[in-house]
Amino acid sequence: MKAIVRAENVSKVFDMGKVQVKALDNINVEIDEGEFVAIMGPSGSGKTTLLNMLSALLRPSAGEVFVNNKPISKMDDDELAIIRGKTIGFIFQTFNLIPRMTALENVMLPMWFAGLSVKQREERAKEALEDVGLGDRVDHKPNELSGGQRQRVAIARALGNKPDIIVADEPTGNLDSKSGEQILQIIEELNKNGKTVLMVTHEREIGLRAERIVHIKDGKIIENEIRKTGRRSPK
């Protein structure tokens, strides 16, 4: 099985001047192609830090993270940016859309960074928005959309560059249960269609939607819980 992302003996220490916060402590984990993995743990346990590490937003203090088998710790800012743009699709708890831009423009943005032509950008962005059921909302600004709709725009944005993996940090954390459920269904659908998904949550109920749950506490992996197997078709 091909590993999309892999952490080897990864630690992360945040230097806060007087105190040092050890957010991750010797983590070993691997996300394989086509998997749907949840990272679970209490607040402050290091979930977000681990997710950021595996998605090339942070460099490890020790150990190494491999994205598509490439070590990232020695890469410069721009190399990391390119990996994030092309390999990883981000979904955030707070949506993180750019308020001044329309849904379409938000979705087109990462494709612009990746160097796609305007025509390609527009085509793909419209398609992605239609896929998440927002074909009629392309010209709306984020503040004209509901929370659930905003998160769906964010999903469309994450898909634009056809990334190898979707990472989602508490994607339903700011949503009511009904729109949260919609989002989870979209994510499940993406995974069924072959997309690798890595999702952070502190709610067991949501974690159960994944086929594997990595439990983390105080920056350490305490359990690797396999839920479902056999669905994945080996490539």
Binding site: T48, D77, A81, F92, L97, I98, P110, F113, A158, N161
Partner: protein, 404 residues
């Protein structure tokens, strides 16, 4: 009204967007004020400078720029009392390099027209020289004819004298009374734009012999205008004239002016004005760039989260830097456009004031200047925005997103 409300458009919406626009506009406007002033100063300066250059050049072209003026007195204060000598024109005529010599004589007399008397300037010249004087722009008839060779009781009038001296415009063939004698107006000399033209503009022009009779003396030249063959020879000819006249007079009781001297003094005045304006421009641009820098810093701080988002989804440092650089460039260019407008208006106003005060100054729109100024303002914006843009581009994406 109800239809408007149904379609979701109400007054509050308009008010909100208006206030937000006004707020943003005000901030951007204040930011660009320095750039506006700086660019306005530069554009006004260059436009006026160009206009002045054109005017001075035109003046010299009319004058031929191949002329030398001799006037009495060692300096300007003396020139009113001192006089040249009767034979000076002859002395100059025989100097090597001199093509022609025109002497002008001057007297102030009471002149009567339609029963009203007025003190007026009368200029005397040699009628034979009228054609020659036309070649250097000293004379140019608007109406009528030249003075004939031995015509003692005929006069030309300067255009301004004709129009402004008496209640009614004086017409050709009408008569003026000077010292009890009747003189016929045969021609009107046009104002033109040349400094020589204006010499006769407010005067009566008559043959030198006639003026001698009125004055009851043989007048000495008030000005001697020397036309040279080659303008390259002017410095040499000037030296020769100085030598000849000094020898004849026994002292240097005269002044010699050349086109290049006039050009020099015009240049000196222009240089002073330029220095002041360059100073203003430099200071305002410095202040303006600090303003833009500050605005860009504020803008990057306000948009930290946005920067984090963009970096997370694949923006490189260069992408972020360029976004802010372009924004700074736009602010600069905006200020530049306003500055060009204001600067050109200032130049036009200066042109009008100069025109009214009798100095023709043509201000022409210059696309190259305008575009150049806007581009320059844009670069000022981008230079000022460089440091904030670079800082923004180097933000850590996770820090910028904030940990929630």
């Amino acid at each position: 009204m109800s239809k408007l409300r149904e379609s979701g458009i109400d007054l509050e919406l308009f008010k909100r967007s208006a206030t937000s626009l006004r707020k943003q506009g005000m901030r951007t406007f204040l930011t660009t004020l320095g750039v506006v002033i700086g660019i306005a100063a530069i554009v006004a300066l260059i436009a006026v400078g160009q206009g002045l250059n054109t005017s001075v050049q035109e003046e010299f072209e009319k004058m031929g720029s191949n002329t030398i003026i001799v006037l009495p007195g060692a300096n300007f204060t003396q020139s009113t009392f001192a006089s040249l000598e009767e034979n000076d024109p002859k002395r100059i005529e025989s100097i090597n390099g001199v093509e022609d010599v025109f002497s002008i004589y001057f007297k102030s007399k009471q002149v009567e027209f339609e029963g009203v008397k007025r003190s007026s300037v009368i200029m005397g010249l040699n009628p034979e020289k009228q054609e020659g004087m036309k070649t250097i722009g000293m004379l140019g008839l608007k109406e009528g004819r030249d003075l004939a060779d031995n015509e003692k009781f005929a006069v030309l009038l300067g255009e301004r004298f004709q129009e402004e001296s008496f209640e009614n415009d004086i017409q050709i063939k009408q008569r003026l009374l000077i010292e009890g004698k009747s003189y016929k107006v045969v021609g009107i000399n046009e104002s033109g734009g040349s400094s020589f033209g204006s010499m006769f503009d407010n005067a009566i022009v008559m043959p030198k012999e006639g003026l001698d009779e009125i004055s009851e003396e043989t007048l000495t030249p008030f000005r001697i205008i020397v036309k040279v063959y080659n303008k390259e020879d002017i410095p040499d000819v000037k030296k020769r004239i100085t030598k000849v006249l000094e020898k004849a007079h026994g002292e240097e009781d005269f002044q010699i002016m050349t086109a290049s001297q006039i050009q020099e003094s015009a240049g000196a005045i222009l240089g002073l004005v330029q220095a002041v304006l360059v100073g203003i421009a430099a200071i305002s641009l410095a202040v303006g760039s600090i303003g833009i820098m500050n605005t860009m810093f504020m803008s990057t701080m306000e948009r930290t989260r946005e920067i984090g988002i963009m970096k997370a989804i694949g923006a490189t440092n260069k992408h972020i830097r360029n976004l802010f650089l372009i924004e700074a460039g736009f602010i600069g260019a905006g200020g530049g456009i306003i500055g060009v407008g204001i600067g050109f208006v200032i130049a036009l106003v200066v042109g009008v004031i100069a025109d009214v005060s009798g100095f023709p100054l043509r201000i022409n729109p210059d696309i190259v200047l305008f575009l150049g100024a806007v581009l320059f303002a844009m670069s000022v914006g981008m230079i000022a925005g460089y440091i904030p843009a670079k800082r923004a581009s180097e933000m850590d994406p996770v820090d910028a997103l904030g940990h929630d």
